[in-house]
Symmetry: C2
Subunit: 245 residues, 2 copies
DNA sequence: TAAATAGTGTCTCTGAGACATTATATT
DNA sequence: AATATAATGTCTCAGAGACACTATTTA
């Protein structure tokens, strides 16, 4: 099979013959602040939904990048750092009326992403946001977010909770080196309930490559000094962790 | 917070001020034919990639539907039936050069979907396809599909394989009523290896609501007549099935 | 009766839940 | 010494792998 004739087809093709779509990205950026799972929200500085809290995001640059590149670019702008944490596509939201610009003839679809990071620096307000802050996910229910961002936030939260069961992404929420107590607090924050201490240790240490022990201990608060660990190479927990409750 | 001023903003908004995106859907439709997991492909009748095998799909109708509705519409057109099987979003592919129409100024993003069904009728060629057939996924590696459809096919296949571990979607591959041997053949086809017969039965029957026994048996081929079952209400297998190999 | 398919029983091992116990630090 | 935190040990039970065995039909 060849692609004969395609060149001529493209020469005659009119990209403006059909009503336009726009492609955006939205980011659900999670971190753990004061023991609480939190999500970054920005207050929108421009229309539509001016003044509303929303997920950070922006437009995919036409012809220059794909949605992932756009999301990573926004992530760097919003969090102001070279990104090391976990990053994955969540889903695409494309209801015609999810963005009021449909009234002006623009159908806006958005690819949502989930990002996890440890101890992010305080967020930077972007070009289209006059304010940015981390919200504990517990308080999220009371907020009326822009667009369909409440739905995206709910889906993102469930994705994170599920991922902790069968992947090692929990280690992305702590800075290296970390103690097993640190890692356990991640599970407690994300699942809303701490797994049993002894069984947690046994599980984590039995999954090869989940964590790698260092030969150091942390200065004790009160009590025995805890062993320090780094992230291992493993990505999957098999058999999976079981979520309590 | 109110949305004051948004109306005026929208009145002045020019949807054509920015270069256009198009939004399409692509479908990875799986079924089991002759004991082999198979995927529906169509031969493209128009540019671009005319004459190439591709996933069925099409454009989201601007302002009228979201990607899910478009995918369901294409599914109905392509398979020519009221759809009952499993259906879920896979991921969105948006690389600028995934569709050559970028050369004419159109950036085409596509939301891919996975659909599972039992014993589909022979496929119908659509408006943009002069041919359609199911391909065993084993033979798929030899095909050079249109666009980035090889990648989408690989991702879809892995999604299906993974989903059989922790959900009951395998029952969507068989017609009711079915025997446990039928269901086991689904796992054998998707995973490429049959789970142990006795352990398979024990697992399926121990998950409440996976299958519901009827009070009938199927006419025996040779041997004891098998018990017939229907799909249960359960959606998750917990703890999950373990994929052999 | 032999062969084929359906279905049951059981031994063993892994791993998770529950919880008691030991270790090592600070105050 | 009392207390707080870290780490280990152990009993029990659920469930998965392996595989032998029984049941019911056709040829």
């Amino acid at each position: 099979v060849t692609r004969r004739g395609e060149r001529a087809f493209l020469t005659g093709y009119d990209a403006h013959a059909y009503p336009p779509f726009a492609l955006t990205v939205d980011l659900a950026i999670f971190t753990i602040r004061d023991g609480q799972l939190s999500m970054l929200l920005v207050r929108r500085g421009g229309h539509p939904y001016r003044g509303f809290w929303a997920l950070p995001g922006g437009h995919v640059i036409h012809g220059k990048e794909d949605a992932e590149a756009a999301a990573r670019r926004e992530l760097a702008e919003e969090s102001g750092l070279d990104w090391t944490g976990h990053f994955e596509q969540l889903a695409t939201y494309s209801s015609p009326d999810r963005d009021p610009r449909i009234k002006a003839g623009l159908h806006v679809a958005s690819v949502a992403w989930v990002a996890l990071a440890a101890d992010l620096p305080d967020p930077v307000a972007g070009t289209d946001a006059d304010q940015a802050r981390f919200w504990p996910v517990e308080d999220l229910g009371e907020l009326d977010l822009a667009f369909d961002h409440n739905q995206i936030a709910v889906d993102a939260l469930e994705r994170v909770r599920a991922k902790l069961e069968y992947t090692t992404v929990a280690t992305q929420f702590v800075t290296e080196p970390f103690t097993l107590a640190d890692l356990r607090r991640v599970y407690a924050a994300v699942w809303g309930q701490a797994p049993d201490l002894a069984n947690f240790r046994r599980k984590v240490l039995s999954v090869e490559g989940f964590v790698v022990p260092t030969d150091e201990t942390a200065p004790p608060i009160a009590g025995r000094p805890p062993q320090l660990y780094r992230r291992g190479e493993a990505e999957r927990i098999d058999p999976p962790f079981i979520r309590p409750g």
